[in-house]
Amino acid sequence: MSKLTSETIMEKSLFIIALFSCLVILLIISFIFIEAFPAIQEYGIAQFLFGNIWAPNEGQFGVFAMIIGSLYVTFIALLMSVPLSLSCAIFMAEVASSKVRKFLKPVIQTLSGIPSVVFGFFGLILLVPFIRSQFGGTGFGILTAAIILSIMILPTIISVSYDSLRAVPQDYKEASLGLGATNWQTIRRVVFPSALPGIITSIILGMGRAVGETLAVLMVIGNVAKIPASILSPARTLTSNIALEMNYAIGIHYNALFATAVVLFIVIISLLIIANHIQRKYSMDIGGGTL
């Protein structure tokens, strides 16, 4: 009997521990939203989201320029990162010998372990002067931030799409090769399409990382709260807006920064839900009962 009770106690406490993550999320959501509420109530949600002027001293809290800044830099980063990382994932999964693969895996792992501040520092010291000398201007801007971000999201996209390429059943490849297709034809017509849901997921996850990245971007983007005119213009992202001003923000300004975090939070959760949906919907279709 006592053996049975202690078993039940163990199971119940493990269950509570497992639920802990969900409880923490509720806690995070409630604290961020409670602190954000006064700003949204006072300033108005439409004016906050679509207002063009961010001037805390004058009581103006429009984050539209930051939303554009975040989307712009993320889009350019993906444009550079996706072709390189997919090609690298295909190389590792389909072309490289197992020796080369064994060598490249820790390379990707090390790249993903480098702290974001180190990336930002590297960008600040090396990339900003380079962009300045090549294209003029200050060197701080969308392009510089996007290059740094594209490197930072490489490991995410490579490792997730690598896993989904490797998960394509061997039979598919053999059937294609048996019909006389070359390795590249097989990759293009068979392996890549079967792995597509996983590859799209990897891109969305990389996108989430790019949108959420803070200090590395802040250090190289110039942080001007205006809609960027060109790819070389300085800009400000949602994340850098928070990190720049939190140290001295008081009153409604403080609440407006929490409201910026709410926007960020909603963007990230939406991306995650989309990624999950794609994976659940399409993983059913990948042939003979992989799920």
Binding site: M10, I17, I32, E35, Q109, M219
Partner: protein, 283 residues
């Protein structure tokens, strides 16, 4: 037909070189970043730099209190997140059935893993520092980092617990052991190196983080003694040195120390993963 055959062969060759090239580019990027930081940073590092006090806001002196702050928050956060992450992994791998609740828990861990670090920073400020009144301290920062580390430890541990062969558990049940006895005495030891890998990965994330702790840790350059003292971990120190233009050489030195620590941790992870895989394959 013949023409098609040749072009297929040629396109195969072209594509293979593109794939190879992209592998080389990725490797080159890593080498450039590491080499640049280490070449500029290693000459700065000496015993005085490692064990010296911070002087003139970091413009001179060493980074000993900074290193201690980093180790302090990292170890304390892992101490908090390990029981939570591993406990959740045990439940999900051994007890949970594939219901709606299980899916919610899993999705919860994914959300925790993808919340941007600056949002964690704001949460740490409003909840731990202000609401719970823990102040700007090593403890507040560790709690924030612990929450961020849970999903990593949870996900890696769950995979390794699940991959323990079911014969092990059946053998234990056959000897009359209860479920918890079996988990504790048989399954967990077999999954240990995988769990350790998860914990080390959680440490990498904690030691690299600046944005999540910048409003919780207090940014003080004195040596933290108690967990309620403020501190300043390595990434935050690097950020302040670089953006406030305090000292470029010391920024490089700090970056190099940080990179070396991360490289050591990555090496350890690989060591444990390999050991674990060898064990699973019965070598």
């Amino acid at each position: 037909m013949n023409f098609n055959f040749i072009s297929a062969k040629i396109s195969q060759k072209i594509m293979n070189s593109i794939f190879l090239l992209s592998g080389i580019i990725t490797l080159t990027i890593l080498v450039i970043i590491l080499a640049y930081i280490l070449i500029k940073g290693l000459p700065v590092i000496n015993l005085e730099f490692i064990f010296g006090q911070v002087e003139n806001q970091g413009a001179s002196g060493g980074i000993f209190p900074i290193i201690i702050s980093s180790l302090y928050v990292t170890l304390l956060s892992v101490l908090i997140s390990t029981p939570l992450g591993v406990g959740a992994a045990i439940y999900m791998a051994e007890y949970a059935n594939d219901g709606k609740l299980t899916r919610i828990i899993r999705f919860g861990a994914e959300i925790l893993a993808s919340i941007p670090s600056i949002v964690y920073g704001l949460f740490g400020l409003s909840f731990f520092v202000i609401f719970l009144n823990l102040g700007w301290s090593i403890f507040s920062a560790s709690l924030v980092l612990a929450i961020m580390g849970i999903p990593t430890i949870f996900q890696v541990s769950e995979v390794s617990i699940r991959s323990v062969p079911s014969i092990y558990a059946e053998g234990s049940y056959g000897l009359g052991a209860t479920k918890w006895q079996t988990i504790y005495k048989v399954v967990l030891p077999a999954a240990l190196s995988g769990i350790v890998t998860g914990i080390i990965l959680g440490m990498t994330r904690a030691i690299s983080e600046a944005a999540a702790v910048m409003y919780a840790v207090g940014s003080s350059i004195t040596m933290p003694i108690s967990i309620l003292d403020p501190g300043r971990p390595l990434p935050l120190h690097l950020y302040i040195l670089a953006t406030e233009g305090i000292s470029l050489p010391n920024a490089f030195g700090t970056a190099a120390v940080l990179v070396i620590i991360v490289l050591i941790i990555t090496f350890l992870t690989n060591y444990f993963t390999e050991r674990y895989q060898n064990k699973m394959m019965g070598k």
